[in-house]
């Protein structure tokens, strides 16, 4: 029996879905820890990015942060954080994942504010707005397409990275793959492949969902030109 047939059989067994530690449990863990990580990343990166963009300083910092996270292996961060005060368990995993969400969120927030037309900013100043008001009423709304693009990149990246949480017993869909590998390939080949399909499917589904959301929150006149720029800013961080 080849691995594909094995995988189909494994996926068709209802117990593999509903058992404790089955697909549904793992999916829940995967989504909840990813959501928590992205949320945490937003809480840190957005205020910082918006503020740096508003003051026009810290461009170098943004680049440094994104380059540094590229070089640190996910596995290392996932194993190191449980050793700190965070302790062993879910919080450490969420923080580790959040670290990988920060660069795209930060870079897009920064770029989003920086790309606002200087004349618009000056006009707002001329109307008597304070710095905070300019940021909140002018720069922030104009940066929304960028924020959305960054959010999408971060969410997809975190969902993909969360598969590795299994190495530190953090749960998630990656567990299915690692258990399969634990069984040896001849026996667990089907489960390995099935787990791979589930993880890849979830990542692609998240990508599609947030592509749609990104489109919805971008006002129509901004769509064509800004979206390209938003992707570019995201790609600059995603490493391409």
């Amino acid at each position: 029996m080849n691995p594909v047939q094995q995988a189909v059989i494994w996926l068709n067994d209802p117990l593999n879905w509903t058992n404790p530690g089955g697909i549904l449990d793992r999916l829940g863990e995967h989504v909840s820890m990813s959501a928590a990580a992205v949320l945490l990343g937003c809480l840190v990166a957005w205020p910082l990015g918006l503020w740096l963009g508003h003051t026009g300083r810290g461009g170098g910092l943004v680049v440094l942060v994104s380059n540094l996270t590229l070089a640190v292996p996910t596995l290392a961060l996932l194993t190191i954080l449980p050793l700190t005060f965070l302790g062993f368990g879910r919080p450490a995993v969420v923080v580790a994942l959040a670290v990988f969400a920060v660069p795209p969120l930060l870079a897009n927030a920064y770029t989003g504010v920086r790309q606002v037309d200087p004349q618009t900013r000056e006009a707002a100043r001329g109307m008597g707005m304070t710095g905070i008001q300019v940021l909140r009423r002018v720069e922030l709304p104009l940066a929304v397409p960028y924020l959305a693009a960054g959010f999408r990149t971060a969410a997809v990246q975190v969902v993909a990275t969360a598969a590795l949480a299994t190495f530190v017993n953090g749960g998630g869909l990656g567990e299915i793959i690692r258990f399969g590998f634990g069984l040896s390939i001849a026996v667990g080949g089907g489960q390995i492949l099935a787990g791979g399909l589930l993880v890849a499917g979830l990542a692609l589904a998240v990508e599609l969902l947030f592509a749609l959301v990104e489109r919805l929150v971008t006002p129509r006149p901004l769509r064509r030109s800004r979206r390209g720029a938003g992707r570019r800013a995201a790609d600059a961080v995603a490493g391409s």
Partner: protein, 228 residues
């Protein structure tokens, strides 16, 4: 290769210990060597496939969109999932790690090479054409050299992320320095082992990146005057 601790004098659990590095230098060096060769082979193979692919995308404009879209979609697939797709067929070993890592490096290099080639000014291309260069001559003598900065950016990003990605190979027991990190996790969270693996990873990425920057400096003599 054995990743078990051979000797531990101090029962404490320091963040870094030379004692550990000295006592286990064989293991650490073996892992480092494995990591380095895997990375270099992966980037080399990826470059040999990616650059021609990018040239195809550059020559046949209608293909550019689909090729870049495909690389974008493949990039969203988690690395662990790709290991799961490949391992049942290629088994446990370097071939599986390499094919997964090559795939990710490929995507990065293709995108940057296409961008680099597209940055070649139209006048330059026309001038080369006017001098009688054919399609291949123009590519080899004019367009590719001018795209070197773009290709190099791709290679650098690919190398650095490959160093990080190889560690995921622990899932099939061939993760280079990832073995050290993971073994530290299993050895009752022995911090010195984890930190050693991590530091060597970051250091390896840094060294390879610097080497590529140096290579770029040698390859693009015409850019040197401008920077200063």
């Amino acid at each position: 290769m054995s990743f078990r601790l051979s000797y531990r004098a101090d029962p404490g659990n320091p963040w870094f210990s030379w004692q550990y590095v000295r006592d286990n230098s064989d293991t650490v060096l073996a892992a480092l060597r494995d990591h380095t060769t895997l990375t270099l082979r992966a980037v080399l193979i990826a470059a040999l496939i990616a650059v021609p692919l990018a040239v195809v995308a550059y020559w046949f404009r209608p293909l550019t969109g689909p090729i870049l879209a495909l690389t974008g979609v493949l990039y969203t697939v988690p690395s662990l999932a790709v290991f799961a797709f490949v391992a049942p067929y290629l088994g446990i070993g370097a071939a599986t790690v390499l094919s997964v890592v090559v795939l990710y490096a490929l995507l990065v290099i293709v995108r940057n090479t296409v961008a680099g080639l597209n940055q070649v000014p139209a006048e330059v291309r026309e001038a080369a054409e006017g001098m009688g260069y054919g399609r291949f001559g123009r590519l080899l003598r004019v367009e590719l050299p001018l795209a070197v900065p773009g290709i190099l950016t791709g290679l650098r990003l690919a190398t650095v992320s490959t160093v990080a990605l190889v560690t995921v190979g622990v899932v099939i027991g061939r993760g280079g320095l990832g073995q050290i990190i993971f073994a530290g996790f299993q050895n009752n969270l022995y911090k010195a082992q984890i930190t050693t693996g991590t530091l060597l990873c970051v250091l390896l990425a840094l060294v390879l990146d610097l080497l590529l920057v140096g290579a770029g400096w040698l390859l693009t003599p015409w850019l040197r005057g401008r920077a200063g």
